[in-house]
Symmetry: C2
Subunit: 292 residues, 2 copies
Amino acid sequence: MIMEMVKGKLIAIGGNEDKGTEAEPNHEQKNNLNFFELQILSRIVQEMYLQKKSHIEVITTASSIPQEVGENYLQAFHKLGCDNVGTLQIRTREDARNPEYLERIRSCHGVMITGGNQLRLSTVFGGTDFLKIMHERLEKEDFLIAGTSAGAMAMSNTMIYQGSSAGALIKGEVKITTGLAFIKNVIIDSHFDKRGRFGRLAQAVASNPSCIGIGLGEDTGVLITENNNLEAIGSGLVVIVDGHGIHHSNIADLAEGSPISIENLIVHVMTRGNAYNVKMRKFIADMELVKK
Amino acid sequence: MIMEMVKGKLIAIGGNEDKGTEAEPNHEQKNNLNFFELQILSRIVQEMYLQKKSHIEVITTASSIPQEVGENYLQAFHKLGCDNVGTLQIRTREDARNPEYLERIRSCHGVMITGGNQLRLSTVFGGTDFLKIMHERLEKEDFLIAGTSAGAMAMSNTMIYQGSSAGALIKGEVKITTGLAFIKNVIIDSHFDKRGRFGRLAQAVASNPSCIGIGLGEDTGVLITENNNLEAIGSGLVVIVDGHGIHHSNIADLAEGSPISIENLIVHVMTRGNAYNVKMRKFIADMELVKK
C-alpha cells in the first residue's frame, strides 16, 4: 500500500494550474479543447470536507515570493466562492513552531502547498510537529492536502530536488532526498512535458525501482485516495513510469557522469478520466466505471 | 524484417555530432566522461568500404546554409584523414537529375546526409533516380548511408516532420509523412533528450504501433545492419519506444486537439555498447558478445 488506512486525500498538480489571473487563456490552453477555467482548483474545493465553506490554508514556504503567490491563491479561491482562506507565511523551522500556525493547521479542512523549491519544504518542515499534525490528520480525517509543482514533488518520501533535462540520463545528474512522505513508493515530477523531464524521471525510477514514477503536466494533476487510485485531473497529461519489470540496468556499476542504460520500463500516458492503481500497478481507462 | 537482404549499412545520428570545430568541448560534453572527440564521425569512416580511403559525398539538401554545413563536414572528415570527400549541393528536384551528381552517387562508397529540414529531403529526392540508386546500392553493395538530425529522421518510411515538445501528446500536434524509406517500421527522432521529445515519439508510435520508435540523443547514433540490430554509438543515449504491447489508447476516437492516453509502452534506454534487435524486439546488453 502506498498509504496505510488513510481517510484523507492528496491532490498533486504539475504546476501552472490556471488561477484565473490571465485575461486570455494562453496559446497552449486555447489549443487544448479540454481546458476548463480554474478546473483543477475547483476540483480541489469540490474534494474538501465542506467544499466552498471549507477552511483552507495556503502554505507558501517553497516560494521565493511568498506574499505575491499567497495573494494569487487567495484571489483564485475567492473567485471560486471560498471565503475562509488564509495563508501560512512560514519561512523557517522557527515559524513552523508558531502556536498560531499549529492551531490553524489543526483546524483547517485542507491545505494548498504552492510551488517554488521543494528543498525548502523538506528542510523547514521535516521532523516538526506541524508536519506530524498534517500526517495524523491525513490518516484519520477527511483532510485534503493539495500541492503544485514543488508542493507536489515534496509529497512523496522519495523526492527529486535537482536534475537538468538535458543531462537527465547521466548518472548522478538527478538528485534525490527525503520529502514530506504523505505518500510512499512513488516519485512525483512536475512541469513534465513542457520541460522534457522523461529522462529525469526514468533515472529516478531506475535508481529506485520499487517506486512508481508520476510525471505531471502543467495544469494537470492526480487525485490520490485510500484505494491507491491515482485519478488524472486537469487539462494535460500524467505519465506513469513503472520500473518493476526492469531487466538490465547499468546504474550500479557506472562511474558518476556516465550515461545510463535501462531495459524494459513500462510507460502509461493518462488524460482526464483515466486512472492508475499503484498497488495493482494497473492502468484504468475509465475511472467512472470504477466509482460506480 | 526492417531491411530485406541488404548488404549496406545505415548510421542514424541524433544531431550535433562533434565535428571538432570547437576549441573547447562544451559544458555537457565535459560532464560526460564517455565523450570522445570526433567519435561518431570516426565510426562512420571506420564502417566505410575503404575506410579513410573511401569516396564520401556529403548531401546538404536539408540545410538552409548548405555551403557552410558542407564545408564543416569536409574539414571534419579531413581531420580524420579522409581526402576523397565531396559535397553534393542539391537544392531542387532538377539538381537531383544532374548527370554529374548521379555519377557521383553511383561511384562513392558512402554518403553523409546533413541536418536541416527533413521535408526538403523527402520532397527533393522522393521518386527520383538519385534515390533509386541509393536504394539499389544499399541493397546490393557494401554502401553506407549516414545521416544526422533531419538526415537521420528522413531514413525511415514513416517520418516525423513537425511537432512541438510541449504539445506533443495533443492529438494532431505530431505530423508524419513518408521519408526516404532506407529502413521500414521504425520512426526516428533526433535531439531527443535535449529537446524533451519523449511525448512526440510516444504519440508517433501510438499512432503507428507497428513501428518501433528510436529517439537519438545528440552526438549519439545507431549503426543499423542487415541483422536488424541497432547498435548504440556515440556519447549519449538512444531511447527505444515499443508500442506493440499497447492495450488501451484513445487516439482513434479523439477530436484533434485533445490529450492522448496510452496504456503500456515498453521503453528501453541504451548507451554505447547496448543494442536492440528490431525484428525480435529485444534489448541486447552487450553487443560485443553478439559479434563474437
